[in-house]
Amino acid sequence: MSSAPASPSPAVEPKMPSDFPFLDVVRNPAARTYALVAAGGLLATATLLYLFYFSMFGAAAVLVIGVCGILFRWAAAPVLFVVVSAYSLRFPLGLPFVDGGVSGISLIPGSHFALADLLFVAAALVHLIGLYRYLSAAHAGLPFEAPPPFVKPGAKPTVRPAEPIADPELWKLFARAAAFVVAGQVLWLLVTELKLDFRRDFPITVHDSTWSRYGPGVWMLNWLSRSLLTVLAFAVLGGLLAFVMWYWRLAGMSRDEGRVATLDTRWAGLRRDVNRPEAWRGWVKKKAAGKLPKTGFGTYFLVFGVPVLMLLFAVVVIGCAGGFR
């Protein structure tokens, strides 16, 4: 009885679903589905870039980036996709500061609910959402729990389990993409049709004439108004959302959270009162135990050296100034 019976050896715990070989993508229903969605969005984006915006360079570039993102699960692909798309729209030939002949003032009035823009933004949104969900299912759905220095070499992050995706999820994806295309257009309409004028009582007004909105020079002069209105719109939306969520979370605090929050608030109010006796008590105990930190050179320098230097400095300054009188 003295020697404990041999305990069975522990089994190797099944690993969390994580990054897997590329060929397994076709066996993973979630990854497969979203890879197809992202590929569809990518193809549509490239086609629209080529057909409506006359950017062969842009079409080829986003195709390469998107395909690399899908094939190699390249985490930077979505952001590069956005940047390259924006660049291609501005410089369709791919050469900086060389317009492709599509720019012009005439485009601007048509930028509201233009079919080409609607389709392009919708395709790009579908591609991005699909690509991000594909990366969550095939590359990393959750970040590492530990900070980077503590992540074990070779560790793989957790991904979404390989389960079939429900139909509503896909339909919601397409519906959201369509909704945000319209929302973006509405926001763009607002920031271009409204004008900030701080000389008025109410600083937001509507442009009075088309010429003042789109006339040569005026458009460029309104960039500040557009920018400020965009920032204002997102600040209002984001701030409102943050406020609602903050209050919601505040209302749903647990008992422990509430207790610590109340205690912290009271501590902040009473800190000046309670700090002094406790600091002295701690100091006396440390002194009695001989644990007070030793005074080093830095302290002496700060206490004696710095005042002396400042005094000398002041004398020099005053002396110099006096010499010039």
């Binding site: 009885m1 003295s2 020697s3 404990a4 019976p5 305990s7 089994a11 715990e13 099944p14 679903p17 979505p78 952001v79 956005v82 798309s85 924006a86 729209l89 599509v102 003032i105 485009l107 823009d117 392009f120 933004v121 991000y132 969900r133 969550s136 759905g141 959750l142 970040p143 979404r160 389960e163 973006g184 257009q185 460029m220 960039w223 920018s227 965009t230 979370r249 605090m253 647990s254 422990d256 205690l263 912290d264 009473l270 800190r271 309670v274 700090n275 406790e278 008590r281 701690g282 105990k285 930190p293 830095g298 302290t299 320098f301 700060l302 400095f313 300054v317 005053i318 110099c320 100034a321």
Partner: protein
Amino acid sequence: MLTSRGFWFLLGVGAVAFWAVPALSYSAPATALLALSLLLWFLFEWGLFLARANAAAGRISVERHILQGGREQPNLWANLDGVVRVTIALKPGAWRLPFVAVADKLPAGQLVMSGTRRAVGGITHARPMTLEYTLHPVAPGVLRFEGVELRMADLCGLFYRRVFLRLPTEYLVLPTLADDESSRRAVKRQNALPPPGIHRLKRAGGGTELHDLREYIPGDPPKMIAWKASARREVLITKEYENDVPVRCVLFLDASNGMRLGDPGNTNLARAAGIGAAVAQAAAATRDIVGLTVFDETATTVMKPARTRIHGMQMLRTFAETAGRQPEVGSTDPVALQTYAHSLAVEQYPELLEKRVNSRPLGLFWLPLMDSRARWLLLLPALFYLFVVFGGGFNLMVEITRNIVRPRHPSDLFVFIPVGLLLLLLPVWMTGVSWFLFGIRGFFGKRAKDLAVRKQLAAVFAGLDSDTPAAVERYIHDDDFFVARANRFLAAHHTLPPVALYDEAGKYRFRGEAKLTVLADALVRSVGVARDNELYVILADVVELAADLDPLLRAVRAACGRHHQVLVLLPWPDDMPPPRDRRAERQDGKRRKVSIGRLIEDALVADYHRKFDTVRTALVRAGASVIRFNQDDPVQLVLQRMEQLRGGRIRR
């Protein structure tokens, strides 16, 4: 909150929007449309994630069940597989969580034998998440399950939140039930054994074995008259029978700090509890009476000898609870303790460390500068600067400016520009000097960071204890107060910081001299209330106390003087070779490669053997028997001693 993926997306799209909305919209409005649509989508995803997380807060239920033998059990048995089933479900009011990863936190020292304690997927009202895995506790003690870690993210992996669903539950791991072999008597010494649970005592009593004959005394019952003997002697002779008394065994279990050290489930205390439990069960199986005394450096807990079933179960519970006691290591380094306690708090109390409930005001970062009285003198140069240099300097700058604007001489510029810069930027120079003195991390370096961590832990401790704000300040400034609470916090969560076994003088810190006095008192008390020759089994670590054995030796002598038997079982370190092997090693004559490490190890081993020999010799001379935990079979040895008591005779 925001994953790196979300951060880079926001940065990229934000940069495009920053470029597109003001300027690019002139020639390529689709760019602005794309950027605005993406930002709106990002905002929506953020709101949706927050809404889901907020709706789920406090509405996620966790249930834990432990099954052994296919049935739910309130306790576990050592050396038997136990199935842990954890169910994570959403209460009404919570929204669906599409993507979560959950992981049940294992009790310290336990490994998953089968199944898994992790899962990934979605949780809905109709489809809760269930984890099922098997544990195999090998030693008695306490298993503490802290709760379940839950990480939630949106489907795109842009946002992330980690919560810890605390469900602290403790399960006793009762010692293994003794099997038939261990409960069998060790040696059959004679054919006519008394009934189980008793032994014959050669004193007149109410037993069945004839003890003696004596002359009849008026009042003796007639049935006791030995008629044949009376006829031979022609006087009435009365028969006397031997006394039947129960065999009693009292176990003394050492629960001092030194016994509690070690990996969970692999401590000397757990082994001692296992041996004691096996002895108790084997003795109870033969209806012997067993008692238990648990002692440490300060107190004893006594269970009087009894033989009822309830008493047996209570003893098993006591063994399990004792084996699960955490060592009070008494670490006195506040910074080290703070590191461990903060890690634990980050893991299990993440919501209590968030800045919205547990702030870290900026004042904390300059307070350390005022730690010493001398540094308060820094106020003087500050005041000097404010009232003299700054005030006078302003006036001087007017003069300087006048001279620079209309210099009387070109050399004026070479003097006044540097002087003016020095004067105006004096705080910047002072900052540079401070950085030079206090480190590149800032004015106050590690001390300020430690202070911020200390404050957050202090608020957590005070919050958990429902304490006052003054307690927060006291935790910050009083190291002893903080150390005591941090030790309790860690012990309550079965987390043991690294233990320094030896002090600065090289002395073993967990000798526990005081426990010998406590043990001796307990032994003397037991002897005082003993009825007959009893067996005292001491399961204690006294090897390091070779020089302090006097109280125990006196108690052992007192017990042996009353014809009781004392058996001392000593734990033996796993990595320590037994004495016999060491002697054999020395005699084998083989030359070994000598190294410093080997020499030190040999010296330590020799020292331990020497102490063990000293203790064994002293105890044996006092009348006790001494064996090691890992020597032979201590349970059988104890049972054998009880058997000797059962069939033996007392010495007159």
